[in-house]
Structures are given as C-alpha cells and as structure tokens.
Symmetry: C2
Subunit: 368 residues, 2 copies
C-alpha cells in the first residue's frame, strides 16, 4: 500500500492509515453532533465514506460557542473531472448548506505543472478553468464560494506562503512528502502554497476562524505540517475530515483519470458511460447459472460502490440490493443497467449546468 498526495497504489487499509498518519477515527458521538447541527446525517457520513478526522471536535466546540469555520478543499487540474473527484465536493456542499459557511476552493494549476515532467502551465491553467465548471455545476453559490486559481491569484497567496515556507525546513518536508535530491524546487516549495487557503480568510475578512478541510486522506501530509506551524502564525490549526477513495471501475484502486476506461468523466456521453459500466469489475460469477445458485460478492464490486457512495440515497433499497446480490436474485447485468441509467440521468443534468457555469464562473473569483 502506497498513499501519498501524488500516488495511491495497492489495497488501501484505512485503519492502518489512521494509525500511521495519526488521525482520529470518526466516532459515533461526532456523527451525532454533526447530525444535530445539520438536521440529518449525510449519506457519505452514514456510510462512513468519511472515516477519519483531525480536530473536527474542536471545530464543533468552537461552532457551538458561536465561532464559525470556513471550508477548504481543492482540485489538482491534471485532467478532466471524474465522478470520484466530485464525491467529497458533494459532501462539502452539504456542509456549506447546513452550516452556512464560506468555501475556499484551491485550483492547484501550479502543483500539477511542477510535479509532472510532461505538463505545460498553459494546459494546467486551462484545465483549472474547465474543472471549476464541474464544481459550480454542483450548485455552489458564488456568495459563499471562492475559487482560488493558484497562478492567477498568486498575488493574494504569496505573502502567506512565504510566512509558511519560512517556518518549514527542507528536512520536515522531506519526511512528510518523501522529497529526494532529484525533486525540483517548485515541488519542494509547493506545500507552502497548499497551506495558504487554511489561513486566507483572516487576510480577506479580518476574521480569525478555523478551516475545516473535507478531502481524501492522501492529502493529509499537507495538513500535518501546516498544523504544526499554524499557531506560531496566529491562526487556528486547520481541521480535517478525511474520505476514502471512490474506487475505479476496474479491479481495486481509486478512480483515476490515468485509466480512462475505469473512470466516468463528467463530460462522458451516454454511450461511453454505458460501455465503461458494462466493462466494470464486479463480484459476479463466471456464468449466470452459477451466480443464481451461489450469489455474488458486493464487497469487491465496483458497481455496488457507486450505489453506496452516490447513486442510491435510500438506505433500505441499498440493503435490499446487497441482499439480492448475495442471494443471487439479481445479476451483474441488472445492476450495470440501473447504474448506467442513474449516472446518465445525473450527467445529463450536470452537463447542462456545467455549460451554464461558463456564464457565472467569474462570480466565484475573489475580486481585488
């Protein structure tokens, strides 16, 4: 198992990540507190997609005393957005709606340029714009949503990045990220840029509040080093809530744009979705007869994961699907057909909203 901000490989053992990264598991007590404030428990919490945190309890303590928080998440624009990317964004939208709080969304076109030998800065910047359309299409309101494009907005970020960078030694960064002598200087500096949105709210508004970061657990090393220096700079430590990776449609591994046949992109047309889902890896048996007799295994099934994390809101129906699968009462073809329909229904709407977002995208940009 390898889990770094730039590589996720092998079967991910989430319990082990909690131990190794030194994060906290999501407790029932925390879920209850979130449920109380939000008037319900979001699907991604109920189903433990968000399984770990740092200081979520502290953020809720402060919230209950009247000190709000801001949300911060982001995207490395290395390619088109797929459904796996949007899972934590959908949860972020839920938190924003329920807690009425501001979101800073960082589009890391600089990072994607420095970490990939082949990347071109014009391309990552253009992809940042295209990726932002997907965020906006999810219904975020410009009043509370601020998209930061690193290269374009560096004038707003650089002073805070310098404050951060000055307090992180190469040695600390090497230990957190595995930097080597062959790592380039842009990559070495970049963690300072990723730290900035944790702190930028104070600069923009004068208000000192903590940031809560919903993001996949591979990003945790960034927050670990940022947390170590936050208080020296006069800020709250940024808090995190960590999600699992949405698997791809292949055998294991997270959904990845680098394996396009196993990822559903937001711009995929219906027939492409159909083809990709049709070829998805499932827990089914070799023949129909066998499966009807012995049942299948939803635990290893990529199609089932999509119902679990995104496309079956109803808990009873999900449990029923699981039961039928194990009992051999439904076949993989049935699930694939239903999932294809749901994805295509979702994407048809999403693609319309995504195009409309071109008209409003500027409203999400911080004015200066």
């Amino acid at each position: 198992m390898v889990v770094t901000p730039w590589e996720v490989r092998g079967k991910v053992d989430y319990e082990r990540l909690i131990r190794e990264f030194g994060t906290q598991p999501m407790s029932n007590e925390l879920l209850q507190r979130l449920e109380r404030h939000a008037g319900g428990l979001h699907l991604q919490l109920r189903r433990r997609l968000f399984f770990s945190h740092r200081d979520l309890d502290v953020v809720l303590d402060l919230y209950e005393k009247g000190i709000k928080f801001v949300l911060y998440t982001g995207r490395g624009p290395s390619g088109p957005v797929h459904i796996g990317h949007m899972v934590p964004w959908i949860f972020t939208k839920h938190l924003q709606d329920k807690f009425d709080t501001r979101l800073y969304f960082q589009m890391t076109d600089d990072e994607k340029f420095v970490v990939d030998d082949e990347a071109n800065l014009k391309d990552t910047t253009a992809l940042g714009y295209e990726n932002a359309l997907d965020l906006i299409a999810l219904g975020f309101e410009p009043k509370n949503t601020f998209i930061i494009y690193d290269v374009q907005d560096i004038d707003m970020l650089y002073d805070i990045a310098l404050e951060v960078a000055k307090r992180i030694t190469y040695s600390t960064a090497k230990a957190a990220f595995g930097f080597q002598d062959s790592t380039n200087l842009g990559w070495v500096f970049w963690p300072a840029i990723q730290a900035v949105p944790c702190f930028i709210h104070k600069k923009l508004t004068g208000e000192n509040v903590p940031a809560l970061i919903p993001a996949a657990i591979d990003q945790d090393p960034f927050w670990r080093i940022t947390r170590d220096i936050a208080q020296k700079l006069g800020y709250y430590k940024p808090a995190q809530i960590h999600n699992r990776f949405l698997p791809g449609l292949g055998v294991g591994g997270k959904m990845s744009a680098s394996e396009p046949e196993t990822a559903i992109f937001t711009t995929d047309p219906p027939e492409v979705v159909k083809r990709k889902v049709w070829h998805a890896f499932t827990g089914g048996k070799g023949t129909v007869a066998e499966q009807k007799k012995e049942g299948a295994n939803p635990d290893v099934c990529s199609v089932y994961q999509y119902f679990l994390y995104l496309f079956e809101e109803n808990d009873k129906k999900l449990t029923e699907r699981e039961r039928q699968c194990i009992a051999g009462e439904i076949l993989c073809g049935d699930c694939k057909k239903q999932l294809t329909e749901r994805i295509n229904k979702f994407l048809a709407e999403h693609q319309q909203k995504r195009e409309k977002a071109r008209d409003t995208i500027e409203k999400y940009h911080i004015k200066r």
Copy 2:
C-alpha cells in the same frame, strides 16, 4: 575566505574566485570593445572594479549584429542603502546611458524575509520602497528603468519562476548554495525568483534578448544555475559582469550594513559621515613623524579605496595622491578631511534627489 550570496567573510582572493566559480577575467580586448561602444572607459572599468564576467563577449557580439541586451541588477532590502551598494548601480547607469537599454531592477523583499529569522515581511517590503529611492536618485529614467518588487509583483513573476523551479533539482541548488536539511522551503525556492528578471523582457515585450547583469561576484551562483536552464526555456543565457566588494571603513571585509560604523549610509547626516570617516582604518603610521619619514600604505587603506572607486574621477590626481601617501607627503587626516567633504557634497545632492524620488517612484513600476 567565504563568498556566498548570503555571507562574505575573510580576505577575498578575486583570482581564486575566478577559478573556483569558473568565470572569465576581464580582458583588455573586452575593455577596448566596451570603450569603443561607450566612447570612453568608465572609472570602474579603468580601475578594474569589474574584474570578471560570463559571456560579456557573446553579448557584445550580438550587440554588434544589432541584437540589444537588457540590464538586470537588484537589491536585497535588509536595511538602508550604503555607498557600497550604489557602486555597481552607478556603473549600471553608465551602461544604460551608453547602450540605451532597459534595466530591470529586482527588489528582493521576499528573499530578505526568508533568509533572516528575525525579519518581518512588512519591514522588508517597506525597506524595498526606501531603497528604491536611492536607485532613482542616481538619475535612472523611468522610460527605461523597471523596478520589480518581488512580493507586490509576484503575479508577473510566478509563471516564469515555476518554469525555472521545475528544471532545478534540490540537489543542484544544494550544491550551488550550500542548502542543508535545516534550510527553510522559502529559501530553497527563492533562486527561481531571482532567475525571473533574466527572462522577463520576452514576456513583457515579445523581444528575446540576453540580459547582462552587473553585480558583485557573490551573486554568481544564482546565474550559474540560471544559465544551465536558460536555453531549455528558449532564452539566451544571462551574461554577467562581476564587481569587487567596496570595502567598509574598518579593517578589511566588504562594506556591510551590519557594521553601521564602518558603512556610509545614503541618509547619514554630515557630522555622522565625518565621524565614521575619521575613525576609518587607513594604511597610516603610529605617529605623524613616523609617517612623514616612512610614508603610508594606500593598498590597505579604506579611505583610499573610496577615492579609487568613487570619489576621484581624475586618474592623474589619484596617482598623485597615491604617490604622496607612499612618500609621506600627505597624512591620513588630510585624506579623511577631503573624503568627508566629497562624500558630504555627494550626499547633500543625493539626499535631495532621494526625497524628490518619492514623487516619481510609481513611474518605475511596471503597469499591468
């Protein structure tokens, strides 16, 4: 002897620096070419203050074929400007006037912040503005002079800095600058920012021409690594012309703001200048009688260095002063009195122009 961009210590052996840094000594042939184009040889060239170069011959070859160059130099605003800082600026002005070419002047407020634990970003930025007044007071024209303030202008620098940073490994930077595990990330990244003005002219004007950098030799490691990647990025290698350090008024060592009694600041009032020069280290003898009999040694005299590099334009008069000193015909008190008068005359004018520069400083800032 230690000579790095951040530390100059011990007796500087310039011949050894040429060998160790791998630069070229200034040849008579090059001086003749410069003389031909400039219609005369500047004092600082005649007296070999500029003693070494990289690719000055290439820049002159191109110039003779009709391809101009731009000038680039700068200042790390860690304190007030002293006369030692202005020596290469005065020469830069000469080159600008004679070759009618653009100057990019980098004010490295970011660097001075990250390399000094005690420094505060607000202070280094404010000092950058104050230091710029000294540059402008030397008579640079806004039409051809562009002052880059790193923090304020980072939006203009960052994309090129990323291109540079991506192509320099930590290993290369470690070898060039002596970075260690304890070096902070801001410092590690900074060489990429210092490289940007070598290349920015193309971005601003579309014109691809080489940069010629008049600067003290301690800055050479920056250009060494920048030269290695310039052509990969589609630019000419930046060329350099290196000056010696103007010594302080104490025993050896370069003039340094960290030893204020041995440095003449541009804002020093006449009585302070008088006191500092009066306490300067000279090559004089213990008693007047002894000195009249045996003569003194101008080679080690800090006061003589000031006549040599700045305050005696007339070569014959300088030679005569040297002769009189060695012969014991003038005493240190005489030289100190005359130097004090010349410095105070220069500073009286400079301080007026410096205050006037507050009205025009914005004209030197690149508009966007």
